[in-house]
Symmetry: C2
């Protein structure tokens, strides 16, 4: 008997993966959570029926949501991740020796606990001495901490359920205040093919708070359309100004200084989206 897991990425489109094992399924206090083994992408974390991360392609998303901001900032010491309970963003952040403190604020303790148990390749840095994990509301956290972070990364689920407020103007204003005077903010902002209204709206809201706002792209096969956007808000440093010949002191599989710059070069329809 073959078992296939199908995510309806939109009401009219799905991705379907042959599975070899279902490891864990539960309804947490915040969302439905499943961990399954797929043949194509290896182990997969699914929240509310949406693929969050897989062993085979997680490197793209986790490298691209972190290293662009971290290499834009000349000296990122104090970094906050909101969401990202699988630990993938944290794993990339601690590769930067400049970082003295990386804080993960995840509302759902079970995501962290189960990622530690079932996804060690992704969660492996959560025990790093420079890392603090807090199980609390990210929105409250940024509201109550002013001017302390060099970088804030919002590694959220889609804007449904508990994540809706993570795409609001009020939240972006709190993020701005929680950053130091040269701080940088980055958030995942969905697919240009299927979420153009969301991208336009996020870009416009973030532009109202930050003097420098840019959109960049990466290719994540398990996300709808395979093309994913990130929006960056920066108080001082332009993320497009990177020395493409700089040497990295750590290994990556997708990120490089060259693709850092290349990721900001947008297909015409995406460029048009944020220029309107």
């Amino acid at each position: 008997m073959e078992l296939w897991y199908t995510e309806k990425q939109t009401p009219n489109l799905g991705i379907t993966c042959k599975t070899s094992k279902t490891l864990h399924v539960e309804q947490t206090d915040y969302q439905h959570l499943a961990i399954i083994d797929t043949v194509q992408f290896g182990r997969m974390l699914v929240l509310d029926g949406m693929v969050q991360t897989t062993i085979e392609d997680e490197f793209v998303y986790h490298e691209m949501i972190t290293h662009v901001a971290l290499n834009t900032h000349p000296n990122p010491r104090n970094v906050l991740v909101i969401g990202g309970g699988d630990g993938g963003a944290i794993r990339e952040i601690v590769k930067h020796r400049d970082v003295e403190q990386a804080t993960l604020v995840e509302i759902d303790r079970r995501v962290v606990e189960l990622s530690r148990e079932y996804l060690p390749e992704i969660s492996c840095a959560l025990d790093n001495p420079r890392v603090t994990v807090r199980f609390e509301d990210g929105i409250r956290h940024v509201r109550e901490n002013a001017g302390i972070y060099d970088i804030i990364i919002v590694d959220s689920t889609e804007p449904v359920g508990p994540a809706v407020e993570l795409f609001s103007s009020g939240f972006y204003a709190s993020i701005y205040n929680a950053l130091k005077e040269d701080g940088i903010f980055v958030a995942q902002t969905e697919s240009p093919f299927f979420n153009s209204d969301l991208i336009r709206s996020c870009f416009s809201k973030i532009s109202r708070e930050f003097p420098i706002t840019k959109l960049y792209l990466a290719n994540v096969p398990t996300y709808p359309s395979g093309l994913w956007s990130f929006t960056i808000g920066s108080k001082k440093y332009n993320p497009e100004n990177i020395d493409i010949d700089r040497e990295l002191t750590y290994d990556t599989r997708y990120y490089s200084p060259k693709i850092h710059r290349g990721a900001f070069i947008l297909p015409k329809f995406v460029d048009d989206l944020i220029r309107e």
Copy 2:
């Protein structure tokens, strides 16, 4: 009742689309052909169970397989497309006023006939007076025509069935000979995520024929992984040397001189693939 069309993109991964109508299904002399209406992507052409093109996302593939080579060449007058019976590449080519003659060589007459009937948005330029359509074997065509083309575009299906030889060294040598002394060749070369061996092999074979060989990428949601590669072989002009500020005299939705240059900036794992 809901009907969903599922393509197994690999033995362990599928894309599934809600359909509203099946317009045509037949076994031609060369392949199985279906034309269906999907809710997400509009009308879709399927050959041997693989999505070839859809109304909603065809612009990416057709613009990117044509305009990169056409804008690299300073004066492309005589252009050949092998395969591409839907007419999408031809539609983009005739946007270039320099082009005096565009020849489509498609082995399967039924692809052209049914695209004319069911996909007028894509096939619309096949009746242009500068276009010639020939129903013959592309391999024989390039073997029998030496030194006449400025640009040759291989818009093939995957390397199975009739398309296998379109990925062979002998074919690339014939292409080289069919081009003028400053000619340019481009072929679709599948997904870096799922077809790394094929990309490496094509790149190596094409490098043996052409002094300048480059890989570039575009995002096609209905193709496996969403990330698609093209390999360009050029006798004289470097496709990366484009003036990013040049004005286009025609409309595009994905292509621009900026994305022309950006498409050659590869994620590290793709760059590594062709450097090995």
